[in-house]
């Protein structure tokens, strides 16, 4: 992140990333507490001021898989409710403005992989997150669109959450209840293991929601922009990017994998002030 504190013209004290970390911890804790409260409420001991919604009811992707059923029958897929639709719209609004902020700042599964990946970073140092050769990797990154299409098609035709028993997000927050399926545990286990080698493996290769939000990167209002005239081609932005995007070769990052984490910007990795920024078209 802020490892490039060299004395380069225009360098100022680097932000350490605590702001994003705070937001990630906040949402991780919030979701965790809601899940616990949901279980407590079933036994009549819930905390009244905290939502006791089920995890499905506060999942914005639940809204996405329900669109077809809602349009054709006016009903939701089983276990999905209006709240999922509301959250889906909120995340779409954020994505139109700023890209997949949900992935980089809110999604507890994304945060979990990121935090777990720190162990891998300690073990493999520079090799971490660079194991898969780019010539294969760039195609593998489109796998998640296949996953998105498959899940939307299956849920639309069958009318229930077809893949819940493989859902790592559900498993992560419910493994202590004994209600999780073995498939979910296996997927989560693989993700944890893979996180030791690759940053955010689920996000990169399989997450259907990340795939959908990634499309917004092609037209979002605020974009990651690099100013070539001040860029010193040190590659700090490329090394900082968890999604392996070569920011140093783009003027504007439109890559579908960008998660708007801002790690590449001059606020964090880029050593030259005002060179990589999160800005609108007019904003330099």
């Amino acid at each position: 992140m802020a490892k490039s504190n060299q004395t380069v013209k225009g360098v100022k004290t680097k932000e350490k990333g605590y702001i994003r970390l705070f937001v990630q911890i906040f949402f991780f804790t919030l979701v965790g507490l809601i899940v616990i409260n949901h279980a407590l409420e079933e036994s009549g001991k819930g905390i009244s001021w905290l939502s006791s919604a089920s995890l499905h009811a506060i999942c914005p992707f639940g809204g996405v898989v329900s669109i077809y059923k809602f349009v054709t029958t006016g009903m939701f897929v089983k276990k999905i409710h209006e709240s999922s639709f509301v959250l889906m719209f909120i995340m779409f609004i954020l994505a139109v403005g700023f890209g997949p902020l949900f992935c980089g700042w809110i999604c507890p599964l994304g945060s979990f992989q990121e935090w777990f990946g720190k162990i891998g970073k300690k073990i493999f140092k520079k090799r971490y997150n660079n194991f898969i050769p780019n010539k294969y990797d760039k195609y593998l990154r489109y796998l998640r669109y296949g996953m998105l299409a498959l899940i939307i098609y299956k849920t639309a035709t069958l009318g229930y959450l077809v893949f819940w028993n493989f859902d790592p997000y559900y498993t992560l927050f419910n493994f202590w209840t004994g209600e999780v399926a073995i498939g979910g545990l296996i997927v989560l286990g693989i993700i944890i293991l893979a996180s030791l080698f690759v940053e955010r493996p689920w996000c990169k290769y399989l997450c259907p929601y990340g795939a959908l939000l990634g499309i917004f990167n092609t037209f979002r209002i605020f974009k990651i922009k690099r100013n070539p005239s001040t860029c010193i081609s040190c590659g700090a932005c490329d090394r900082a990017c968890p999604m392996n995007i070569t920011v140093s070769k783009s003027r504007v990052v439109r890559n579908h994998q960008c998660i708007s984490c801002l790690k590449c910007t001059s606020e964090y990795a880029c050593p030259v002030a005002g060179t990589v920024q999160f800005a609108t078209k007019g904003g330099e």
């Binding site: 702001i19 409710h81 209006e82 709240s83 509301v86 809110i106 605020f222 920024q277």
Partner: protein
Amino acid sequence: MKMKSISIAIIIFLIVFSGIELAKITGYWRTESLKIPIKIKTGEFAGEYNPEDIRGSYRFSDIAKYFEIPLEDLQKAFGLPADEDVANFQCKELKEIYGYLEEEGKEIGTGSVRLFVALYKGLPYDLSEDTCLPLPAVEILKERANLSDEQIKYLETHSIDISEDSTTKTELEKEEATVEKEDSDV
């Protein structure tokens, strides 16, 4: 225009929570399914909503809507305080309020709502279940519903005085206690 982390954090909190608040205000924030009881399929009452299908998660507003019972009657019947949000009160919350009855082997809960609704609407209900009702509920039923002798007898032995100075004895137990006291006074 440029954006830094701090602005993004603020925007996230603002948009997410104001969006949820807005949905709550407009009544679109629902995290559970709409409560619609199933209908009675056969017999004299076919087509009516079935009180047996009322579940703990049903709110009093759902009951008011489907069984056409005024919220005031429900509030009074189950002894809910004046400042209670009656519309959003869930049947299962009765168990919290009247949990203290459990020590005496009695219960006012979702079953009581089912019984009240059934008798109020003149719909069939299995009286062998030994369900109790708060005294005000019995009074309302006597006033509004068409009760059979058997039902009146049942209610008299299964009503619980929930007023603050009351013990939790059923009316019949109280009567018996009074008679015993009178006997010993003599």
